[in-house]
Symmetry: C2
Subunit: 199 residues, 2 copies
């Protein structure tokens, strides 16, 4: 089992244990970082709740409180440098996205985040709705694809029409900011709490 210096360093950053201890734990865990962490903890060499905490990316977390505290939104947007994270263009995007989430209530950042079962269930529902309508199969598939696209436009943040300008998608707003700041910009995650909605 070959353990790389990068693996040792990552475990060291995570646990605060010494280099040699980290290497020994990794060898014992056959390179599995989580198992190595448990081994170190059992030996009393790593802290219980120390978290990775390393920022691999730059960016900003923005918040928006709506309707006198009945709805709250948190959004994280990433970019490549802290310099860009501090620009007004970037801050405006973060603010805009937080308001978008508050108003349009998306459930996922991107299409790939929607669970396959949810998509399958939608498909089955659309199909059942058209039963007995006497349409040819290829037309039915086209209609289902169209309905699925509308479904994504409702629940996927990047595909929603902008609440400020319905002719633009949220992904267009992100693209505009990328063009302005000259760095890649991506929406990392969001949370939206509505009082009483719980989880």
């Amino acid at each position: 089992m070959e353990i790389s210096a990068a693996q040792v360093k990552a475990l060291r950053d995570k646990t605060g244990a010494g280099m040699m201890e980290c290497k020994a734990a990794l060898i014992e865990a056959k390179g599995n970082a989580e198992e190595a962490t448990t081994i170190l903890r059992k030996r009393g060499l790593a802290q219980a709740t120390k978290r990775a905490g390393r920022s691999t990316q730059q960016g900003q977390v923005g918040a928006y409180i709506h309707a006198g505290g009945k709805i709250g939104v948190l959004v994280e947007v990433n970019c490549e440098s802290d310099f860009v994270a501090r620009t007004a263009d970037f801050a405006n995007l973060v603010k805009e996205l937080a308001m978008q989430v508050a108003a349009a209530d998306p459930r996922y950042v991107r299409r790939e985040d929607v669970p396959a079962e949810e998509v399958d269930k939608e498909r089955a529902i659309y199909r059942a709705q058209m039963e007995g309508a006497g349409k040819p199969p290829q037309v039915i598939e086209k209609i289902i694809d169209g309905k699925l696209n509308s479904f994504y436009e409702k629940i996927v943040l990047l595909e929603q029409p902008s609440i400020r300008d319905g002719a633009m998608k949220v992904s267009d707003l992100v693209a505009q900011t990328i063009a302005k700041v000259g760095e890649n910009v991506s929406i990392a995650r969001f949370a939206r709490f509505k009082v009483g909605e719980g989880e």
Copy 2:
């Protein structure tokens, strides 16, 4: 299969479909509300993305942005009346809790929210740490319980010492607010985003 008026009403509130349609769907779904929703949607009688949205509780969502946007927190606190939700005492608690989460980085609201596997893993680690120390079993169990308590104090919001007054737990702050406003008050949920930490 007996379907209660309450079940029909709940389904109607959720889907926007008519009373009779809701009752028929519930009977067909043998009382299962989620299945009844799918049935209604297949019949085109319920909206795709309409959400429950009914507030069963009152309260406030508060946000706190720390370290120039590198950490953001969202917290929902519930009470019984909107009147109390609008008081300064309640708002102060919400603000205090958001700052607590930003600074002390809890992972769960209450002890019961910590997954059993996580607790079992901690126990196993503590036990391994004491192997060969030659302590009697009942002493070892006492030590493990003590270590588990410290673990909860680190990761459970309600059990954390207040960042403002270390002599008080967060649960004491909640109790103080309950005494002041004369209503039950509970922390519903929180989210904490740190730039680059992702999920």
